[in-house]
């Protein structure tokens, strides 16, 4: 430790670098925000970073008219998919760490494979399966795909977290008379808050931001907001309404932003849990 003074040269260099990085990350956001509140003339005449002459919400209103319905589609897809995949992942992790069975390590290894599987490779088999199940082009079908695809990740998260929990806890609970689900619900789950948060954030971001599954497995009015945004931005008729595009993009991105702001601190805590034992 050389100095605690904030104005020492090394400190100054660090802060300058951080500020620069910050600006680089924030400028696109600022441009989007500014543009979304400008009128089309304003956009044509001013430059990207100029302050709007008149602040107008018309871009946001038009955008909401265009993608608002799809926003709720995304909610209807994301919420159940996130909750179900997290709960199933927790159960999987519990079994794979505390109730190992013959071949459970192999099972876990194969499941991990799912984390590295590119989306594209599962498109055809998945659409075939959904067709057979009678779930083609339904929200339920899309939820199912997201749950199945997310399970690999959520299982990995919970399994590794539970591996750092002493096995003696489960043994003690068994002697106390608790069964499989009681131990899970009363002992393991209450101590899983950090990893549940990690899972929720991870799954929410993945599923809300998904485009590929949405464009392939949902059609028409059931499409998620990512697909709707793409359709809006890529329409080739008429004058480009940049303020509407920007506002729609902001609407599409807001929920993930919100999740990080609200639960972000758990994310780091959960990812580093186990590394530092209390």
């Amino acid at each position: 430790m050389t100095s605690h003074r904030w104005f020492s040269p090394s400190r100054l260099a660090i802060h300058a670098t951080l500020l620069l990085a910050c600006a680089l990350y924030l400028i696109p956001l600022i441009v989007m925000l500014l543009t979304s509140f400008k009128s089309p003339e304003d956009i044509r005449t001013g430059n990207l970073l100029s302050w709007p002459h008149v602040i107008t919400g018309s871009g946001w209103l038009t955008a909401w008219d265009a993608v608002g319905g799809y926003f709720w589609n995304s909610v209807k897809i994301t919420l159940p998919a996130v909750l179900i995949s997290t709960l199933l992942g927790a159960l999987n992790g519990y079994v794979l760490s505390m109730w190992r069975f013959r071949g459970s390590q192999l099972f876990f290894g194969l499941l991990l494979f799912g984390c590295f599987l590119p989306f594209q490779t599962v498109l055809l088999p998945a659409s075939f399966t959904l067709g057979k199940l009678g779930l083609a082009s339904t929200t339920t079908g899309l939820v199912l795909i997201h749950v199945v695809y997310g399970l690999a990740f959520t299982t990995l998260f919970f399994r590794n977290y539970y591996c750092s929990v002493p096995h003696a806890l489960v043994q003690a609970a068994r002697l106390d008379g608790a069964g499989f689900f009681t131990i899970f619900g009363r002992i393991l789950l209450p101590m899983s808050v950090p990893i549940i948060m990690v899972c929720l954030i991870w799954q929410f971001t993945q599923i809300w931001n998904d485009f590929l599954f949405g464009v392939v497995f949902a059609s028409g009015d059931a499409q998620p907001i990512t697909v709707a945004l793409n359709n809006l931005v890529n329409t080739s008729t008429g004058v480009k309404q940049y303020n509407v595009d920007m506002a729609a993009a902001m609407i599409a991105g807001l929920p993930t932003l919100l999740v990080y702001v609200v639960a972000g601190k758990y994310f780091l805590r959960g990812l580093t849990a186990g590394a530092v034992k209390g």
């Binding site: 003696a168 043994q171 609970a173 002697l175 106390d176 008379g177 069964g179 002992i187 101590m191």
Partner: protein, 384 residues
Amino acid sequence: MARLELRNVNKRYGSGLPDTLKAIDLAIDSGEFLILVGPSGCGKSTLMNCIAGLEQISGGEILVEGADISAMSPKDRDIAMVFQSYALYPTMSVRDNIAFGLKIRKMPQSAIDEEVARVAKLLQIEHLLARKPSQLSGGQQQRVAMGRALARRPKIYLFDEPLSNLDAKLRVEMRTEIKLMHQRLKTTTVYVTHDQIEAMTLGDKVAVMKDGLIQQFGTPQQIYNDPANLFVASFIGSPPMNFIPARLQRQGGRLMALLDSSQGRCELPLSRDIQGLEAREVVLGIRPEQIVMGGAEGNGLPSIRAQVQVTEPTGPDLLVFVTLNQTKVCCRLAPDVSCCIGDSLALQFDPARVLLFDSASGERLDLAAPACVTQDNVARFTGR
């Protein structure tokens, strides 16, 4: 309260793996305190888990009050266990930790409150009931872990190295408390430790284990005074028993062991005469406190002069090291003995207390009847 009996218990963790427990035979009466000792990895925890039902046994029977429980699930066995790591439920308060097993067993709330209060009073943890385990010291966590086991009033308590995570002072305190508690409650207890003082002071019976085998099973006095083999003899006792290789000779009809120091020789008449041991290499086992200073002439004990090499005053004792038969030998003398390095001491042995071991197999040669009754030892003794 219940009689516990293990018959020929075998445990193998998987096909292809060696047996972790081999033909374990043990029996303790209702209210008795059994100590399991042995080096780390010898299968003590495995045996506890088998009794508790956390692991299935691969063969044999576990009987409680004469009924085989080996097929029962842990919750039906009515056995409570205290873990080395305490295994307190981290998200529950101390009160809920103690009450958990009672709630699961659907005990009425008023009875639960009563029971928690009783246990908390017994263990003096009443002021801690609202805290979480992470807010407790190690010693307090240990008490709560015991409280959780006491609350259900089970037939049998299992303790797996309960004190090994405590500091030395607390360990001695808790040892005494556990002994008092057992005298009050008189519940059948199996207690694992690798601390031989705990083994000697707490147990009604002691089972010494090695590599999944019971080496000897008996009272602490039997284990200490009459160890069945070199392993048991070396494992129990601090400072450990001296093992002196010696040659046996028959003189005037008596079997003698020859001892040699740089300053003299001595022929130690053996108390028990065993045929066929003449000219054999054996190992003499002599506890440090059984070597006494010579001086009182004519007490009839054989004596030998030896040069003092190292002295270690421990406080209550003076440990003096000499060389006999090219082996370092520890003598535990009174602290007021004045002797310096290089002095020549006259040492005496009581031949009746000298033990005889086979140097190849390590088994006792002069055992009246094998104190240990495992198949393995019976076979070894009858085969010779």
